[in-house]
């Protein structure tokens, strides 16, 4: 798994590639916690290059969403891969996250 963070004036874009599973989710969680704890609560997750995401990854998405929403922010998804969409749908959590077809539209939504 690789994580790339780009910070803009009001929004942070976090691009993840590879696998988000129980072996890697803590690294993903730490990266997102660092952002939210420093007050970055408008988050775009670019998950277009995620090959696999398990419930461990979903838990990070859900807890991050809860944290940023309580601080007046939100987390949206940019071009989630078919694997991300499939895991979200199977778990019944796809309704939680607004999705955009590309990173630019996701950033512009804030």
């Amino acid at each position: 798994m690789e994580i790339d963070v780009k910070e803009y004036k009001r929004v942070s874009v976090i691009a993840v590639s590879g696998r988000i599973d129980s072996a890697t989710s803590s690294e993903f969680e730490n990266e997102l916690n660092n952002l939210t704890e420093s007050g970055r609560v408008n988050l775009v997750l670019d998950l277009s290059a995620v090959e696999f995401i398990s419930s461990a990854g979903l838990r990070v998405l859900v807890t991050t969403r809860k944290a940023v929403k309580s601080a007046g922010g939100d987390v949206v998804l940019a071009k989630p891969s078919t694997q991300v969409n499939e895991t979200l749908e199977i778990a019944g959590l796809d309704v939680l996250f607004e999705k955009f077809p590309n990173r630019e539209e996701a950033v512009a939504s804030f």
């Binding site: 419930s55 895991t87 199977i90």
Partner: protein, 160 residues
């Protein structure tokens, strides 16, 4: 998408008769980063069973969740104990059986997901929910001193 280049899996040739199943077995140590090897094995078997890519992914996800439960809830932590897997592929059907040496742990009871709102979405128990939503059969038994979890998925799109 599901690269096997670095996977230590040896593919067994399919029997010439289509009716004969392809059987693959593998044993891993109970470390979370080892689960990918089992996912690779399931991916190979799913191709033999003529599963579509999204069906293959769903079974890989369910098996992955089962393995994670064995490591984190059965054994309680990562360690050198083993998880043994057998994957049987017949046209349109996959059967995955996992054995472990952890204390009795039964994931075969279909979990009831409580009502939830978008303000308070669920965090725990997602693994079991995924397993039961993906697989057509989930059966647990004790096999001597071992846990045995057998899961079956039939492709809804397979046509002989």
């Amino acid at each position: 998408m599901f690269s096997l280049r670095n996977s230590p899996i040896a593919k067994k040739p399919l029997h010439p008769s289509k009716a004969i199943m392809a059987r693959r077995t593998l044993t891993i140590q109970a470390y979370l980063d080892q689960i990918q090897i089992i996912r690779d094995l399931v991916s190979l078997a799913a191709a033999d069973a003529d599963f579509r890519e999204e069906e293959s992914y769903a079974v890989q996800l369910a098996v992955s969740e089962a393995c994670e439960n064995i490591i984190l809830h059965g054994y309680g932590q990562e360690n050198e104990a083993s998880i043994e897997v057998e994957v049987l592929a017949t046209p349109g059907e996959l059967r995955v059986t996992l054995w472990d040496d952890a204390p009795p742990f039964n994931p075969a009871t279909n979990p009831k997901q409580p009502d939830w709102s978008t303000d308070d979405p669920p965090i725990g128990g997602l693994g079991l929910i995924i397993i039961h939503r993906v697989m057509d059969e989930v059966m647990y038994s004790r096999d001597g001193d071992r846990n045995r979890l057998s899961m079956c998925k039939r492709s809804p799109t397979f046509q002989a």
